[in-house]
Symmetry: C2
């Protein structure tokens, strides 16, 4: 199964006629595959399908999915296809197309009805039945009172009450999101209320308008993408890139980050340059340079990974992070002592230079303390500044560990070895 899906996706990505390949798939598979494809391949499939074919595909999708597909088509085809859909679907899709796909509204669908809090169970059931007849889908029932959203009436209540009670006896609180909230904020809302659907609102003075509803299932695709997003940000690859992209777009997506890194590498090189005479007098230092720098970088990214997760789970912030920073510094000193002793022993035995061992051991401790400090404080600062802490933290952290690491190592060597 894994291989089949990879085969299909690769075929679509490399085909000169991805539309034909896509149409050859049986229907439920089309839907599954399409939403798994990277953005660039989705676009090329949509472009390669004829208007009729695209229309046939869109017709069978839910309106929120159809919206995602049509957003990829050029305006003329979008309009042509919309014109040919039945009124209800057209209106829904046109409505959804107006929102930012990266916002809460981009996650919502429209399977809801709103009813006044004075309605009887019979009236609500009738509304729901009519909705279902028309759309073949069961709506979420939102109850309004005095222009405000009172809450949700669970569909189950309709199935099991006798109907003489007031519907308000059965209304649950509904968590809400504003239509222009970011997707991360919606995830926050679900974290606190995993079992509820979320009402998407347009809040105006004195009056809430329900625009749509988000279920937990609507977040699955977002969260799955999130899982690899962190690693992308960490390595400076742009969000859209996929393994199926051609070399040209790979170069375009990455060269900038590599050039930024080149800049920081030159900073480290400049520090080494300060000690050219020391290295010339004692070449062994050049041999141990990769050890000192590598260990600092590794320890720093460990601290960073832990801090980034802590930020994601609301376990730490800049103002509460003092203890965390201290703990990372202590852990860095301890890990530096462990690895420093090993390195010092090796230098003493192999190079018969206890002084070099002393230099190496001491710089290891100091460099891992630096790694712990910067690996924690930089993500905390970036988070406070409102930036995603995973995106640019690495570059600052490795610059700190490289620049300071080399400076400490070569500086200590100059002093202790007396060169």
């Amino acid at each position: 199964m894994a291989d089949t899906s990879a085969d299909v996706q690769r075929t679509l990505a490399t085909s000169t006629a991805p539309g034909d390949e896509f149409r050859a798939l049986p229907w439920p598979r089309q839907r599954e595959v399409f939403f798994q494809l990277p953005d660039s391949v989705r676009r090329s499939v949509v472009e390669d399908l004829t208007r009729e074919q695209l229309q046939g595909f869109v017709r069978r999708l839910d309106p929120d999915e159809a919206t995602d597909v049509l957003a990829l088509a050029d305006e003329d085809r979008q309009e042509e296809i919309l014109r040919r859909l039945d009124d209800d679907r057209r209106e829904r899709i046109e409505f959804l197309l107006e929102f930012d796909p990266e916002s809460a509204a981009g996650l919502m669908h429209l399977d809801y009805v709103t009813v006044g809090s004075q309605r009887s169970f019979e009236e609500v059931t009738e509304r729901v039945r009519r909705y279902e007849d028309r759309t073949d889908r069961f709506p979420t029932v939102f109850v309004m009172e005095g222009g405000r959203l009172l809450g949700e009436l669970p569909g189950q209540a309709l199935a099991t009450t006798t109907g003489s009670e007031a519907i308000t006896d059965y209304v649950h609180d509904t968590p809400t999101a504003d239509f222009d909230d970011e997707q991360e904020e919606v995830i926050e809302v679900f974290r606190a209320n995993p079992e509820s659907s979320v009402a998407v609102l347009d809040r105006e003075e004195g009056e809430d308008t329900v625009l749509g509803v988000i279920y937990a299932e609507d977040l699955l695709r977002v969260l799955e993408k999130e899982a690899s997003r962190t690693l992308y940000e960490f390595t400076g690859v742009t969000e859209e890139e996929s393994i199926l992209d051609g070399p040209l777009s790979k170069v375009r997506n990455r060269y900038k980050w590599l050039i930024v890194n080149l800049g920081t590498a030159f900073l480290a090189a400049a520090v080494v340059g300060l000690f050219e005479d020391t290295i010339a007098a004692f070449t062994l230092l050049a041999v141990y340079m990769p050890v000192v720098a590598g260990m600092g970088g590794n320890a720093g990214t460990q601290s960073m990974a832990v801090t980034v997760r802590g930020l994601a789970f609301d376990q730490v912030s800049l103002s509460t992070g003092g203890r965390a920073v201290l703990n990372e510094i202590i852990a860095g000193a301890a890990n530096g002592a462990i690895t420093g002793l090993l390195v010092a022993a090796i230098a003493t035995v192999f190079n018969q230079s206890p002084l070099l061992g002393l230099v190496l051991g001491t710089s290891m401790v100091l460099n891992l303390v630096i790694a712990g400090f910067f690996g924690t404080i930089i993500p905390l600062l970036l988070d406070r500044a409102g930036t995603d802490p995973a995106t640019s933290a690495t570059i600052f952290i490795t610059t700190a560990t490289d620049v300071l690491g080399f400076f400490i190592f070569l500086g200590l060597a100059q002093v202790i070895l007396g060169i």
Copy 2:
């Protein structure tokens, strides 16, 4: 809000009486906070609560959540608390405690009823109503036929049908998982069927037994954890570690990975050692060493991030990956040419050594080709071997880029500069 939650979690993590702090929270917050806490803090809260307090907390949770809490208590308290719960809850929790929390069964809850396919709507509604009276929750209705799961009867059908039809007219296919499937496999199932609940089965010859049901919402916590897991694996931090842990556990969690890295750093150092005479004759090489190695490492982890996501989304595999590897190599060569030209220009201008520039530019191209190749092939190989590709890929990739990078750079220098 973000700060409040961070405050609470930090207080619980550092308090000497986390039980008291926890009890001071209002009820719905207790539940929210508890499941956001890192494992180590959860455990210390559970240990610090008295038996009565723990029982009070567990009593208000759903059985599947109560199971997660009780799994952290020692056996004596577990039994004491279970003994005091009402029969229905006790049986459910005891049942759930028997399964591996990391498996599909660890995600499931028990709000379902099974009915035979010959039942009438009236009979099913009666079953559901009785279930609801007893538990206050609406069950998923699974329809069985001849010992096999036929599918799910949507709750909505009960609300809107008139009741004269056969229930089988309304049964939907249900995706299924085996109780011992890994959580990743359950995520796969939801990827193909985001709108369904998943039936957890014990499949025996000729007979399926439904053990539980998983909803999309049950996956949210798993997927959220997944998002930071990749970065953890990438940096060699163990899954359980949190920003709130003390320094001792941080050291324990990380020193092994650092020692492994130390080993690979020594490999790189050994390669540099081969060229000690070259460096002694031309110290500038030591200055540029961090540039060459750093760029290779960065480019390699970029390729790796893209490949790891491709594997997660089933877009590539070892057998279909030939094209992907080739694309990464081409992109590596191009990015190597871009950055190599920059470095060569700098060396030519600043160090007035066009030959050094030639060495640097050439090694940059070669090292980024190596980075593209190993950054792609290593995750593909690890995936084929059944290992998580994010965990150990980094170490192989940076070893390759460091060892081969230094070898190429210093080797070329020896040849071209004639030292």
